[in-house]
Symmetry: C2
Subunit: 498 residues, 2 copies
Amino acid sequence: MELNEALARLDAAEKKLYAYNTASSALYLDGDTVAPKDTAEGRGVALGILAGEQHKLMTDPALDETLAFLKEHKDELDLAKNREVEELSRAVRQLKRIPAEEYMAYAELTNQASDVWHRAKETSDFELFRPCLEKLVAYNRKFAGYYDPDKAPYDALLNEYERGVDRAYLDGFFAALREKLVPLIKAVGEKPQPDVSFLHRHYPVEQQRKFSDYLMEVMALDRAHCGIGETEHPFTLNFNSQDVRITTHYYEDDLASSMYSVIHEGGHARYELDVDPARDYTVLAGGVSMGVHESQSRFYENIVGRSRPFIEAIFPKIKEFFPEQLAGVTAEMFWRAVNKAEPSLIRTEADELTYCLHIMVRYEIEKALIAGDLTVKDVPGEWNRLYKEYLGLDVPDDRRGCLQDSHWSGGSFGYFPSYALGSAYGAQMLRNMERDMDVWGPVGRGDLSGVTGWLKEKVHKYGGLLTPAQVVANACGQFDPTAYTDYLTKKYTELYGL
Amino acid sequence: MELNEALARLDAAEKKLYAYNTASSALYLDGDTVAPKDTAEGRGVALGILAGEQHKLMTDPALDETLAFLKEHKDELDLAKNREVEELSRAVRQLKRIPAEEYMAYAELTNQASDVWHRAKETSDFELFRPCLEKLVAYNRKFAGYYDPDKAPYDALLNEYERGVDRAYLDGFFAALREKLVPLIKAVGEKPQPDVSFLHRHYPVEQQRKFSDYLMEVMALDRAHCGIGETEHPFTLNFNSQDVRITTHYYEDDLASSMYSVIHEGGHARYELDVDPARDYTVLAGGVSMGVHESQSRFYENIVGRSRPFIEAIFPKIKEFFPEQLAGVTAEMFWRAVNKAEPSLIRTEADELTYCLHIMVRYEIEKALIAGDLTVKDVPGEWNRLYKEYLGLDVPDDRRGCLQDSHWSGGSFGYFPSYALGSAYGAQMLRNMERDMDVWGPVGRGDLSGVTGWLKEKVHKYGGLLTPAQVVANACGQFDPTAYTDYLTKKYTELYGL
């Protein structure tokens, strides 16, 4: 084989993977946004077949041969090509541990489960979802053994989402958080709460849609390349660096819910749109890991979006959108309201301070489920027990309990901790950013270009050109959870006058 | 090879084709409905690759072998399997005449052209679209030679859409129409026109959306299996018999436009949803030909939807949706207004009587373009000349002229005549339906179940199980354009008191 031929083969394989991913993404997006209710079956058949074709491509001995040849010639390749070879080899290695039939059956299962979960959540009917969840857990326990038989199953799954992360790492991280956050949450709980009533006046969907357009404009999300849709559970989907979609969910009695969904998903989109287009159609396209992705979404949502300077900058405009609802409300009142910290039931609407407790509940349940220490039928009970223990709350039904998140229905076990890690990475990025430049002056004028520029330079532009650990090191330095606990302590001390 | 193995191979190939079609359809649907403006490139790359994979599958010698084996065993196969073998063999034969690179390049071109056409139409800029159209014409001339080198190129293309149809057949058909319709249109033109002003009052989009829901209900289109979206140019897309989408376009100053788009596309959807689900995931899924499809959409739109009994049945409900706009309007006034016949510029909004003249313009231009008798740069001039000659109108700009339809941008040359044929088939179906049952009594009570039941039995349920000619024979008998001219003569004589 000639080097040029091998490179052409690599390129063809990557483009095909891109095409299969794009096709599946379009089907998922359709399924979650506009598809009629009872159409999952036909989509599932197509998705199963596409997954099978992708599997065939990834396990084709000719691809192995190409990758082996390119590894032998690594000195003749540039960084990007070497990383492509490395990442594709890794993906092939992992995939080969899953037999094709199981891989296809699993693709059909997740498509079906997503549909069932939607209906189960609607009617708060865990029993409806239980058989799906049992199958999903069984598959993931099995897959974990395929991924890395030397690791405990949950460690193997964690490693899929954030390489190098395992239970020991997370147990330590969460313990450090707990040590600082529990007394902080307690202190906050003893202080009077801000008025949030004005966030729950009537906010018509049509007007909120226009407000979303404005928020996307503030984040410089180019609408010719970034769309917004509406789904039960907001998400971001990237087709390529020139085509990213975010979704949100509007509640007419809650302004902050969609506002911060848009900023959160906008953070994911910012990352995707800022990846060097040279990575498009390769395995290095898109954000590098779930943890790094969440660091970006949560940076925009919380560190910037819920900061006093940002609120002060955009509040006059918010009032233009909702003059009646916000009559008599000041920027300071708004800032205090969107930062109200109080244990609550729904993760996606939890405040920045108590958010990690929601993650810890899911972490404990996933850990036990995948270890086989907890059966699926006991999930609601265990969920409710942990919400009582960690957040002091009684869960009234499974809709607001263990059925609230889409992750498990999509087959993601081991994803949740990435949210907490992302928050911690973000706080470290802020610390470094503040050393490099004036962060809050421009933000206070509604100008996010400096923040976005820094993040693009340190994180976004690489896509998968660097490994997740390299990106984290590049933007954060050595991982140190105290940046995060310090950040929260400072913020909530100011907010609540501790 | 064993028979069972061959059947399993056939099934696998058909399912894969279904998956590729579903993937491409999802990408097209996204591109036409919610995708951000500047995202065609990445979609084009994916569509090109999917088309390439589909091409590879269709031209795989193993498939040939399977089909050949099954043909040898045709006596052991049931009607459906034999038809699948026949249709797939035909598709393979035709595809093999197109080299893979051209096939892929063409898929990318049509995706790009659709995007360019949208922009060109928006700005009425034919020059922007011209290079695309030149390439599309060149490809189609070339493809025509691949399809059937013994036929003149346009005849070969016509045969793709409606087997057995050629210029001789159409020249005769259109001549017969012209002979009857020209004096009829002239006679109508000498009569006073009905008042249509109330159709152009302010009809808010939000209320029109609810009206669309009602119309879909009247047509018994199950919303759990049939979605509605909004696009520039309305269309119907079928994923499978359980998942069909229609689109419409709302104009706030025109009630009839979207109303009849919904009924028209609803007719296509009715057909798709009524095909026997046993045909799903096979090459016999979906409507059998463009002509038969248009016969159904136009049957619902014109023969039923613009009939006096139907209008009388639904008019009280229409008034509930738009009480202010329709104050003082009677069902008879509404019936006369939606049937106003007058030469006009836009095909999709043309009345039933003059509609075929729009088709004749396109037919003449396509015929000349593909024959090489007309160059692309001369299309606007020729278009405008023919509109003057056939309809007596001056075309003010290309947006309302040769850029108005999406068909050419999608690579469809030879499709337009199907609309006229479909109208003629529909009139023959009505003649037969009236012999079999009381059509207008139930329609006059808003009950379309009899009409739909007849069409399902005679046309819909077969999908591709019968050939297009068999379906037409089954529902129409021997093709006879006089059923159509008789129908129009009777209708417009009553409307205009000729």
